[in-house]
């Protein structure tokens, strides 16, 4: 049978999900699918726009289906191509860019847009918002708001509902002074009662948001750009940015033009079919079902399933019966969940309430005939998962009402997980139940990311991630099977580092290829190569058989690869001290080899960037120094302040110590880079407190040794290992610490990660107090490594390899 043509208008959350549901029912066999989207992107998770504005997530993280996905599933996507006309008689749609597509079945999923109330001055011309005024609906809105917020200024949000408060929180993140202007008497009046709204107002204000309730905006001020708002009560507010979050307006005009029945949105029946046309379905915020139009995602998922069941024939009786609404506010620092009605509406309704306004806690449940029909949880939402479930399923509540609000006695989380029924919905965004997570774990998926990928739980708004993680642990129960490979040194050899070292010694394996041959069944693993090379060099020192292919390109040719494939060269400069002659030589080399950038590094050295691979040997030869080792997982450099020679405050000779350290430890391989510094006094001009090893002079030739500091993407003050009383002792203990780290740490584990794992006490016991009696052995091992040092630049300049430095070789003989 020839395939039917399914055309989808709207590539948003409902449209894309509906297509996924169709595919899941074998729909690609039945339909040629064409999608039209107004936005020039693949489908993304609109819910997370709040997180983007508040800086929690990056725009690139919220895409649900990248463009590849459409191609893979044989879907023709016209992105950035809104449909303007539907001809229901010819069964064809036409887009603004002129694309025409015939359909057998049509799905309208055009969603809605920000509702812009007709306040005088809000538009400069019909449909065009005044500069500085934004809706909050799309990625482009988000970028516009962020750009206009710049680095602060005064901003107003019109509307104190869910969306408005999330926008306000986002603007705070951009450094704005934020005002929320709300028409109703209390915030979030759809989801909260008046006392709840009042508590929320206080919470928002404590975060720095000014909240105006009962305030009606009468005019948007400013000529071409917004300069402020004027209000009905005669007051006004100056501001350069306005976000309008006053509700949504369904994109239903297309239905009107096509002659479909449209009230607030396009009217559908229980199969999500337009009431006037058996070939046209409607899902999402542009659909009106039993007089209701939904503005949250959970109902759309149900609608998408019903549509897919019906259109594919998987279940022609599938019917949508409406959804109950429950929601959580995604404002960092505010815990708020709400469901159903906010006030009792019949005499038999019973209200259970707890209020502690000072602490921002408010809980209110409305129970009818022993079932939950409404609820507000603020400040403490630990019971939200359970209650939302009871609400959604209409399940009977326990007689003991107090336990509905609080966890009494037993450890809170456990009670909740136990008492949660199997069909309880854990992830509302993606409709994943407790049972589905259980099945996934039982099926062998025991990690949080694994379960999240397999079930999609936690991949919507993300607010249930904690619960998903708890459930995975709970289901995995006693036999949490920890993946043993996390302890292996490399993934393809099932041995811990210590066991691996033993095996390497026992079989005298001195090269990486020998290790693969003997211990990995001859199977190479690219990722394991550098880890093994590093380990072998620590174990065998001078006897280690180096194989270039086991090292990253940087360590193969002893320079740092740059994004254009050229390299950077850093001559050594211990303690940042140099001479005019040395500078002159560097300058000459830089000119001769057309170095594109000469830059002082953070490690007090000079970086020559943009050296061509084939020029490296000549550059090194003419620099006339040994390698600065600025590229590998090795000892890198030792920074220093001026110390005693010139500084008025100097207590110790930090420059001389830095030089001795660099002479001794240069090029020493290690699990990750080791950056050192010496400081002549506790002012720490050389930042010794945030180095892998930092030595700080405290007077009388005494030095404090700080270890495992970090000053990169992670910042950590080093731990004081001990205080020593000479340069010699400082070098000895630093070396012993580094050797212990070299032997114990996992590959790519910086000193600061390692120390958090094993604890400074343990390291101090071994290195300073010699608790294990291995101090002398560690010192000797470090000495051997030092003795085995060969300058790689020198070796390579003299080497015989013909093509090592060629970046392009002519083919042929």
């Amino acid at each position: 049978m020839a395939k039917q043509r399914l055309v989808v208008i709207g590539n948003g959350m409902a449209g894309a999900r509906a297509v996924e549901e169709v595919l899941a029912r074998g729909g690609s066999e039945m339909f040629d699918i064409t999608m039209f989207g107004d936005e020039p992107y693949g489908n993304y998770n609109r819910i997370l726009l709040s997180n983007i504005l508040s800086g929690i997530q990056d725009a690139s993280e919220i895409f649900l289906n990248p463009l590849d996905w459409y191609a893979e599933n044989g879907i023709t996507l016209h992105a950035g191509s809104p449909v303007t006309e539907i001809d229901r008689f010819a069964k064809v749609v036409q887009s603004a860019s002129g694309v025409r597509a015939h359909y057998d079945k049509l799905l309208i999923a055009t969603g809605s847009r920000a509702f812009i109330p007709p306040i005088p001055g809000i538009f400069t011309e019909p449909g065009k918002l005044k500069s500085g005024v934004f809706g909050f609906r799309t990625i482009d809105d988000c970028s516009g708001i962020a750009a206009a917020a710049g680095s602060g200024g005064k901003a107003a949000v019109i509307g104190g509902g869910l969306l408005g408060l999330e926008a306000a929180r986002g603007l705070l993140h951009h450094g704005c002074e934020v005002h929320v202007v709300h028409l109703a008497g209390h915030l979030m009046e759809q989801q909260l009662d008046a006392p709840g709204g009042a508590i929320l107002k206080k919470t928002m204000e404590s975060m720095g948001v000014t909240v105006h309730v009962g305030k009606s905006t009468s005019q948007v001020l400013g000529e071409d750009r917004v300069t402020g708002l004027a209000f009905k009560d005669g007051t006004s507010l100056e501001c350069g940015l306005v976000v309008v979050a006053a509700g949504i307006k369904p994109n239903a005009e297309i239905g009107v033009r096509a002659g479909l029945t449209v009230e607030r949105a396009i009217v559908v029946d229980n199969h999500m079919l337009a009431v006037d046309d058996m070939s046209v379905y409607v899902v999402g915020e542009c659909a009106q079902h039993r007089s209701r139009v939904y503005g949250l995602v959970a109902p759309l998922w149900d609608q998408a399933k019903v549509f897919a069941d019906h259109v594919t024939g998987a279940n022609r009786n599938a019917a949508y019966h409406g959804s109950k609404l429950a929601t959580k506010l995604k404002v960092m620092g505010v815990e708020l969940a709400s469901m159903g009605i906010t006030e009792p509406s019949e005499e038999r309704d019973e209200t259970i309430q707890f209020s502690e306004p000072q602490r921002g806690t408010y809980k209110k449940l409305i129970v009818r005939d022993g079932r939950l029909i409404g609820g507000i949880l603020m400040g403490d939402i630990s019971k939200a998962a359970y209650l939302m479930q009871a609400f959604d399923r209409d399940s009977p509540l326990p007689e003991e009402r107090l336990s509905l609000l609080f966890d009494l006695g037993a450890p809170p989380q456990k009670v909740t997980l136990d008492e949660m029924p199997a069909e309880a919905q854990v992830c509302n965004c993606n409709g994943v139940t407790k049972a589905a997570i259980g099945n996934c774990v039982a099926g062998g998926n025991r990690s949080l990311p694994g379960v999240m990928n397999a079930t999609r739980a936690g991949k919507g708004c993300g607010s249930c991630k904690g619960l998903v993680s708890d459930l995975v642990a709970w289901f995995a129960g006693g036999d949490v099977e920890e993946d043993p490979s996390v302890h292996w040194y490399v993934p393809n050899i099932p041995l811990k580092k210590s066991e691996l070292v033993e095996a390497i010694r026992a079989r005298t394996l001195k090269s990486v290829s020998a290790v693969f041959r003997e211990l990995a069944g001859g199977v190479e693993d690219a990722g394991a190569k550098p880890a093994l090379a590093s380990l072998l060099s620590v174990v065998w020192k001078g006897e280690y058989v180096a194989e270039p292919d086991a090292r990253f390109i940087n360590e193969r040719i002893h320079a740092n690869i740059q994004k254009d494939g050229t390299f950077s060269v850093v001559p050594p400069m211990p303690g940042g001290a140099t001479t005019p002659a040395e500078l002159r030589r560097i300058a000459e080399v830089a000119e001769k080899y057309h170095v594109s950038l000469v830059k002082v590094t953070g490690g007090q050295r000079i970086d020559l960037l943009g050296v061509r691979k084939e020029d490296l040997p000549a550059v090194w030869a003419e620099l006339g120094t040994v390698s600065g080792h600025a590229y590998g997982k090795t000892y890198r450099t030792c920074k220093a302040c001026v110390g005693t020679d010139f500084c008025r405050f100097g207590l110790g000779d930090s420059m001389a110590l830095a030089k001795k350290i660099e002479d001794r430890f240069k090029g020493i391989d290690s699990p990750h880079k080791m950056k050192l510094a010496t400081a002549g006094c506790p002012r720490n001009c050389s930042e010794a407190l945030i180095k892998d090893v930092g030595l700080v002079a405290v007077g009388d030739d005494r030095w404090e040794i700080y270890v495992a500091g970090a000053g990169g993407s992670h910042v950590r003050k080093g731990d004081l290992l001990c205080t020593v009383s000479s340069h010699e002792e400082a070098i000895l203990i630093s070396g012993r610490f580094m050797q212990y780290y070299r032997e114990e740490a996992k590959y790519k584990e910086r000193t600061y990660n390692w120390i958090e794992r094993v604890g400074i006490e343990r390291v101090r016991a071994v290195v300073v107090e010699d608790s294990d009696g291995i101090a002398a052995r560690l010192d000797a091992a470090m000495q051997e490594s030092v003795d085995a040092y060969v300058d790689p630049w020198g070796a390579l300049i003299e080497g015989q390899e013909t093509t090592r430095f060629a970046s392009l070789i002519p083919a042929g003989e």
């Binding site: 693993d525 690219a526 990722g527 270039p548 494939g565 013909t802 093509t803 083919a811 042929g812 003989e813």
Partner: protein
């Protein structure tokens, strides 16, 4: 694949085992890889991601890891193992001491 002919690409000694080198033939840049087990492969020289020099990457079995952002490709078929952006491959054959490029018939032309 029907083969029209062969062209000498490079000497084996120019590509040490476990490594790759970039060669230029008729203006095209081709990365040649020589595994430690003695197989040879040829691919486009530039990583499809951001043009990283693949010959400077790490070989593991029959895969290469790009030195710039660590995307991994299967040398045998060009498939990206870390994603789905594939790499162009060239059919080659190893001779006693060199690597030759197989020229496909025009119908399945991979190289003009």
């Amino acid at each position: 694949m029907s083969v029209l002919g062969e062209r000498f690409l490079c000497r084996l000694v120019d590509v040490p085992p476990g490594e790759g080198r970039t060669f230029e033939m008729d203006g095209q840049r081709i990365a040649v890889f020589h595994t430690r087990t003695g197989s040879v492969f040829a691919t486009a020289a530039e990583c499809p991601h951001k043009g990283g020099p693949l010959a400077d990457g790490m070989l593991g079995g029959t895969t290469v890891t790009c030195p710039l952002h660590e995307r991994v490709y299967d040398l045998a078929n060009g498939r990206e193992l870390t994603g789905d952006c594939d790499l162009m491959t060239y059919p080659v054959r190893r001779t006693a001491d060199g690597v030759v490029l197989l020229l496909p018939a025009a119908s399945d032309a991979m190289i003009s």
